[in-house]
């Protein structure tokens, strides 16, 4: 669940807008959700899609693309689910929401997603449509390829060519779940198409794009590392050159900001042009780092931290409106140095914050906890580390915007709460937790021992604070 959605979940059920939207949806059927039409994520490197991130992705049949490039989103499979929704049924793949609705009095995400500005205005059009009809989504996330110059410890071959090469050479990691084994990609038909090979999904996307672009509310390019995909620059050029650009577009690009300098320069030049010529409503650069200095470099293998930080500064210096959001995947290795990242991000807020920007705070720290691989989540850490996670939340609060003076620039409530949630999750207990954690710690030791061997890194030298814990993990026998 996205954090914005979670925040909304905490709103009272009395909220009239959500009540109204839920009634409208329920009038069509108890399983109705506009996101099945309006939202899509498309992984062109594997040919997978889903609408809303809760259902699993499914493969787009190439046969469907031949005559209809919009089948990247409007697959027959998805249309069957739309049919169920329009006929009052609840698609099984959406059981995340049905669980919420059946076990609490809270709104499920189908209400929030249908309420979004990229969904609700299309209610009548969708409600009156035939389930067979194609629909251009308004909120689109696209990955053009898995080409990536990093192999972050928690990532996978489907999203990184560097990871792909490593697994191809050395095989899966010797954890109990055979971390990053190709068998998972094969099982889900998610083997990425090699970057240099012809990719029919990408071809279909470009056929569909001119029609899709004009209808878009939000477009976000993910990866892989998008700056390594020529298609990313093709999108930027398309927006720059279009005689009648979609000025309502909320445009976002994910990037690790660790690519070759000429690509970063080119990217900065193009986003500045888009910004200066007011060709979009807003432009957000999403990036990722979850620690500081050499510890960040260890987690995100391939990163040069200073180069990365310089690039964040360069974007903010050259663009007076663009915002940068750091999607920090808070994991066990983040804990020792996260306070430095908090301070670093705060300094950027103070230096670059301005009401001229699309969002007043120049940067956002979006801390989400890592869930998978389980051996690297905060759950593996001994309880003595819990307080340090809480202290990170307290530190963000210290740098926070005062409750009653929003003219000040600092961390927002949501940025504070997101770290607090990590603490809450860390201290939560459940049946079988001890057994799970034991196995996760075993895998932690196995993974990083192999990591150091394959990549020439030194865990104990990089994380002296965790060295004792790591050694204990190596002694675990299952």
């Amino acid at each position: 669940m996205s954090d914005a959605v979670k925040e909304k979940n905490e709103l009272s059920i009395e909220n009239e807008h959500f009540v109204k939207t839920k009634k409208k949806l329920d009038n069509i059927g108890k399983g109705m959700c506009l996101a099945k039409w309006t939202q899509t994520t498309i992984q062109l490197q594997t040919g997978h899609t889903h609408s809303c991130h809760h259902p699993k992705t499914h493969k787009v049949p190439l046969k469907e693309l031949d005559r209809n490039p919009s089948a990247l989103h409007n697959t027959k499979f998805k249309k069957q689910r739309r049919k169920e929704m329009l006929n009052g049924a609840r698609p099984k793949e959406c059981d995340y929401c049905w669980n919420v609705e059946d076990t609490s009095d809270r709104f499920s995400d189908r209400v929030f997603k249908s309420q979004e500005s990229w969904s609700l205005p299309h209610f009548d059009e969708i409600a009156n449509s035939d389930w067979r009809e194609d629909f251009n989504p308004r909120y689109v996330e696209v990955a053009f390829s898995n080409a990536c110059n990093f192999k972050c410890s928690y990532c996978a071959p489907a999203y990184s060519t560097k990871w792909f090469e490593e697994i191809e050479t050395h095989g899966a990691y010797p954890t109990t779940d055979e971390f990053n084994s190709f068998k998972y990609n094969q099982l889900e038909d998610k083997m990425p198409i090699p970057v240099r090979d012809a990719n029919p999904y990408k071809d279909a996307f470009w056929k569909w794009w001119p029609e899709l672009y004009q209808d878009l509310h939000t477009f976000r390019i993910t990866g892989g590392e998008p700056l390594l995909a020529p298609d990313t620059f093709k999108v930027l050029d398309y927006i720059i050159d279009h005689p009648n650009p979609n000025k309502n577009l909320q445009f976002a690009v994910n990037t690790n900001l660790g690519g070759p300098k000429q690509l970063i320069d080119k990217f900065i030049e193009k986003i500045k042009r888009i910004e200066d010529e007011e060709r979009v409503r807003e432009l957000i650069v999403f990036t990722s780092v979850e620690s500081w200095g050499n510890q960040a470099e260890y987690i995100r293998h391939g990163m040069d931290f200073n180069y990365f930080w310089d690039n964040v500064n360069r974007i903010l210096e050259s663009s007076s409106k663009v915002n940068v959001t750091n999607m920090a995947t808070y994991n066990a290795l983040s804990v020792p140095n996260y306070h430095k990242l908090i301070k670093g991000m705060y300094d950027l807020k103070i230096k670059f914050g301005s009401s001229e920007r699309y969002w007043k705070s120049a940067v956002f720290l979006d801390s989400s906890y890592l869930r998978y691989p389980t051996h690297q989540t905060v759950q593996v850490l001994p309880d003595e580390w819990n307080q340090y996670i809480l202290k990170h939340a307290q530190l963000v609060d210290y740098y926070g915007v005062p409750l009653f003076d929003h003219n000040y620039i600092g961390y927002s409530d949501i940025e504070i709460q997101k770290i607090k949630r990590i603490y809450d999750w860390k201290i939560a207990d459940w049946d079988g937790k001890a057994k799970q954690v034991k196995e996760q710690r075993y895998n932690f030791g196995k993974f990083f021992k192999e990591h150091d061997k394959r990549r020439g890194t030194d865990f104990c030298k990089t994380f002296p604070e965790l060295a004792d814990f790591y050694r204990k993990c190596l002694e675990i026998r299952l």
């Binding site: 307080q387 307290q394 210290y398 409750l403």
Partner: protein, 264 residues
Amino acid sequence: MITLDGTHGWVISYTNKHNISGKVVEDINTGNWTFCTSIKPEWNKDNLLMNIDGINYRGGVLCRNGMHSGIFNVLWQTEDKSKWLKSIKGEIWYDTPGGETEVAIMEYKVRNEEWIDIILSYDRKSSKLKLQAREEGEINWDIQEIDIDGEIIDYSGSHVWIGCANGFESCPEPQFYQGHIRCLGVFNSVLTESDRDKFYNEYQDFKGIPKYFRSNAHKRQVYNFEKMNPLALTNFKTTTPYKAFDFSGNGNHPIIYKREWGVY
């Protein structure tokens, strides 16, 4: 150090807004407590905003709102108007066994115009309120203690105010403090003399954001006051434009509070 000009205060909220406080200020409503501070008040009557009948002055140094209690500084003209008296007061309201609500007051007469270290503590079990003060250059503390004959009133929902008795716009007698404050400590215990001295010996060295994790370096940076049950500690050296860092580890960072922000 902060300098207050009589227009605004600071506050440590009793509430736990983000549910991230290690210990909350509310804890002092049910147990023992100690307020520590060190101040250099403005004593020049010509520079003060007279707030008691327009002729005398009373500033809230470290207080709780409701029926104002805590540490105050007072400048009062003698009846014959021949001189001005400077004092520090420790006050608290309580309900007597007879059902009356009364205020217990201790007063320390200030001799100089330099820094004054002040401690006000309450021992709930023995119902004793204790005021300790010493002026700059003095080694010994002036100690006063009184028995509270009754139960101190319920201060649930009261914030800890710094530099005023109550910063809310709705308060008719906010009693804004004028002068300097260089530290504060709020403890959930009555400090012993050795703990008191530890606080006053160490608070000036609190600096930066503690580095919790760098091998043994953190031991020099994390202030080991745990057994004193600290709720909030700061020397106002580590601040953003709005907040002072709480070195207790509880996340109860004092925040500037402007009157126009209203009541929360």
